[in-house]
């Protein structure tokens, strides 16, 4: 009996020890504790598969060229479209064990880290690397919080794009080349597609429904009205917002009933397979069409969500310098590569997004990317809600809950509108 309890105690002690040991040694036993040196850099991302992985590998190659003395350590965490990585990151930051640099959506999503005092101001690096001259002013404004900038964007995506299958549209008597002028005109087209027996509009899980909602708000309120939703100058209880939400309700009525169980590629795949006519998704969807060897123009068409064509729904991945990074110099070297023309071109050619810099040569990119580069330069840049540019995480989660409740049939339009207002204004 005594021997058993001894063994039990030892086992428990062992468990405790391993629990304490985990996490503190992540592959740098050689210089445990870190020395702020540029000997290595741990890059924490959720880019672990598909075009994101090839993009990261392209960046790694440019980094090896520009900073051959710094060892690149890939700290990618797969799963859940980044949610697994964000959870682990939260734990590591809380425990005072930050990676040397981590991926985060640019904009308000960084607010929580900034409030917690977990990020260094990198505006000095913007001067050092000359980034102020090559990033557009709209972008710099979106990145600046209280006069400081906390991250370097690696790429730009557009959130307000409609993807459509021309064959399905033609079969329903809709001209795929004609782009509807506004949401009402689009709804007329959607009705024709629905009448032909196809799913008119495909969406997936709640976050893609939020993506759809934000594009409807952009289309109906205009850039100024849409931006006002986030800075307080547009009233969430106003009649304009009610009108946009009515449009959203109509659009949801055209969607597939299994939406809540799907992820975005499943919804876009419905357009590729000819099951659905339209899909609204950010422009990373173009990679899915390319993977299926589908030609732009004949196999699929894309256009900005009707009514929002003067706006560029902006989101960006960006890299940060956490407070207490073990290899701060290595992280700065990484940020230099991220901001450099060579790094941005290599990464975005592989990932399908466009450079944040305006001095890249558009002819190096694909046909879709060239149109995105043109709108990025000419249209009004507005922040995407669904991807952390417009509001902090708690607001986004609150809006997502309200949208899920509404589309699942748990609330009426008036309740939905008041819940949205409550989620944003707290």
């Amino acid at each position: 009996m005594r021997r058993i309890s001894a063994v039990a105690a030892l086992a428990a002690a062992g468990l405790v020890l391993t629990a304490c040991g985990g996490g503190s040694d992540d592959g740098d036993n050689a210089d445990a504790g870190g020395d702020n040196s540029a000997s290595k850099v741990e890059v924490f991302t959720w880019w672990a598969a598909g075009s994101e992985l090839t993009g990261l590998q392209a960046l790694e190659a440019v980094f090896a060229e520009q900073h051959p003395d710094t060892e690149f350590i890939n700290g990618a965490v797969a799963g859940g479209a980044g949610s697994a990585a964000k959870d682990l990151l939260q734990t590591r930051l809380q425990a005072g064990d930050p990676p040397d640099t981590f991926q985060a959506h640019a904009g308000m999503e960084l607010q929580d880290y900034i409030d917690a005092g977990q990020l260094e101001d990198v505006s000095g690096l913007y001067d050092e690397f000359g980034l102020n001259e090559v990033f557009p002013q709209d972008l710099l404004d979106l990145l600046t919080v209280d006069g400081k900038i906390y991250s370097v964007p690696s790429n730009i995506h557009r959130s307000n794009v409609v993807w459509a299958n021309p064959e399905v549209l033609e079969a329903a008597g809709v001209d795929p080349a004609a782009v509807p002028e506004d949401i009402d005109a689009w709804i007329a087209d959607l009705q024709k597609v629905a009448d032909s027996g196809a799913t008119a509009l495909s969406v997936a899980a709640p976050w893609t429904q939020v993506n759809l909602l934000e594009t409807v708000l952009m289309a109906d309120l205009g850039a100024e009205g849409y931006n006002g939703l986030w800075n307080g100058s547009t009233d969430w209880a106003s009649a304009e917002v009610t009108g946009a939400l009515e449009h959203f309700e109509t659009l949801i009525g055209f969607t597939n009933t299994d939406r809540d169980g799907l992820d975005w590629p499943d919804a876009t795949q419905k357009v590729i397979d000819g099951v659905a006519g339209y899909n609204v998704m950010g422009d990373w969807a173009v990679a899915l069409f390319e993977e299926n060897d589908i030609e732009r123009g004949t196999g699929f068409v894309d256009f900005p969500v009707p009514g929002s064509d003067e706006q560029f729904g902006f989101l960006a991945d960006s890299f940060t310098l956490p407070v207490g990074a073990k290899h701060a110099e290595g992280a700065k070297a990484w940020l230099e590569t991220i901001g450099s023309l060579e790094g941005q071109v290599a990464f975005n050619k592989a990932k399908g997004s466009i450079p944040a810099r305006t001095d890249a040569d558009p002819s190096e990119f694909s046909e879709y990317q060239q149109t995105a580069i043109e709108s990025y330069a000419n249209d009004t840049i507005v922040p995407s809600l669904a991807h952390g540019a417009a509001a902090p995480v708690a607001v986004l989660n609150g809006v997502t809950d309200a949208v899920s409740k509404f589309t699942a049939g748990g609330s009426d339009l008036a309740t939905f509108q008041s819940e949205l207002g409550a989620a944003v204004n707290g």
């Binding site: 929580d112 880290y113 409030d115 597939n256 899920s404 409740k405 699942a408």
Partner: protein, 288 residues
């Protein structure tokens, strides 16, 4: 040598429970407070009162009750029936036992991935999964939106849980059946009891402790359910929210106080279920 393990348990279980409750009584709702940048103050039971007043949290609690009832009744009834069938000498009993017990070897996450597809909510032309199967065998009226029904949808997620744990309940009951001495049954038969009366008055009463254990084990598993729900649905889907999912979302929002409060509520609910059982068993042991 028992002392160190008690000490470790004291710190790493009860100490952390105390810390959790302490957090739940504060206004630690933002990242700045979580990181220690802003002061945190004591608010007593306010987080609990706010949660119970919130219709969305009430919806989560209601979902938890629906899920638990379906899960408990399903596993108990099916597990008991299987055990009763196998209790009589059957040819190939070992094979059946393995078949019934086997789903338990699969993790909730792995089975959830398959069941997500089986429980696809599309009906009619675009149906797949079980709805498609119903169409193919001509049972169209059985098609339904599964977990996408806002009131009772969460019961559909209890189906895979029942599928996985009925075999375990069967094993418990089978052990209970085998624990009834043959002499007792013989004595019953000698007194002229029919086979049904032997079960009704001799065997079933002796299964009560087993049934209680099964109830406690399945019940507390159900209250803690998180992985299966996350594997089939998504954290943000309103129709399948339960308190454990709310806790996860609060934590992602840096709202540590509310996350801790939901954790506290779950612990109390489990305690309400488990403590009477512990008292009952300790009384039984004392009586011996």
């Amino acid at each position: 040598m028992l002392a160190p393990s008690i000490l470790l348990l004291g710190v790493f279980v009860y100490g952390f429970i105390a810390i959790n409750f302490n957090t739940s009584f504060t206004d630690n709702h933002t990242s700045a407070q979580a990181a220690g940048g802003k002061p945190v103050s004591w608010v007593g039971f306010r987080n609990y009162l706010d949660l119970f007043a919130d219709p969305d949290f009430q919806h989560s609690l209601r979902n938890l009750v629906v899920f638990t009832v379906v899960f408990l009744v399903g596993t108990m009834v099916i597990g008991f029936l299987w055990a009763w069938l196998l209790e009589r000498p059957t040819k190939g009993e070992g094979v059946f036992r393995s078949i019934y017990l086997f789903p338990m070897a699969v993790s909730f996450i792995a089975s959830g991935v398959v069941w997500r597809w089986l429980l696809n909510s599309n009906q009619g032309e675009h149906a797949s999964g079980l709805n498609r199967l119903f169409q193919m065998v001509g049972l169209d009226f059985l098609q339904n939106p599964w977990w996408n029904n806002i009131s009772w949808g969460v019961a559909a997620i209890a189906l895979p849980a029942v599928w996985q744990l009925s075999g375990y309940v069967m094993a418990l009951f089978l052990a209970g059946f085998r624990g009834v001495p043959d002499e007792l049954r013989e004595a019953g038969r000698m007194d002229g009891a029919s086979e049904w009366q032997v079960y009704r008055h001799v065997v079933f009463p002796q299964l009560t402790p087993v049934a209680l254990s099964a109830l406690i084990i399945i019940g507390h598993m159900s209250l803690k359910s998180f992985d299966l729900i996350m594997a089939i649905s998504k954290a943000s889907n309103y129709q399948t929210k339960v308190p454990a999912v709310d806790m996860y979302i609060f934590k992602s929002n840096y709202d540590f106080a509310n996350a801790a409060a939901v954790g506290g509520i779950l612990l109390v609910i489990v305690a309400i279920l488990v403590v009477p059982y512990l008292i009952y068993t300790s009384k039984e042991e004392g009586a011996r």
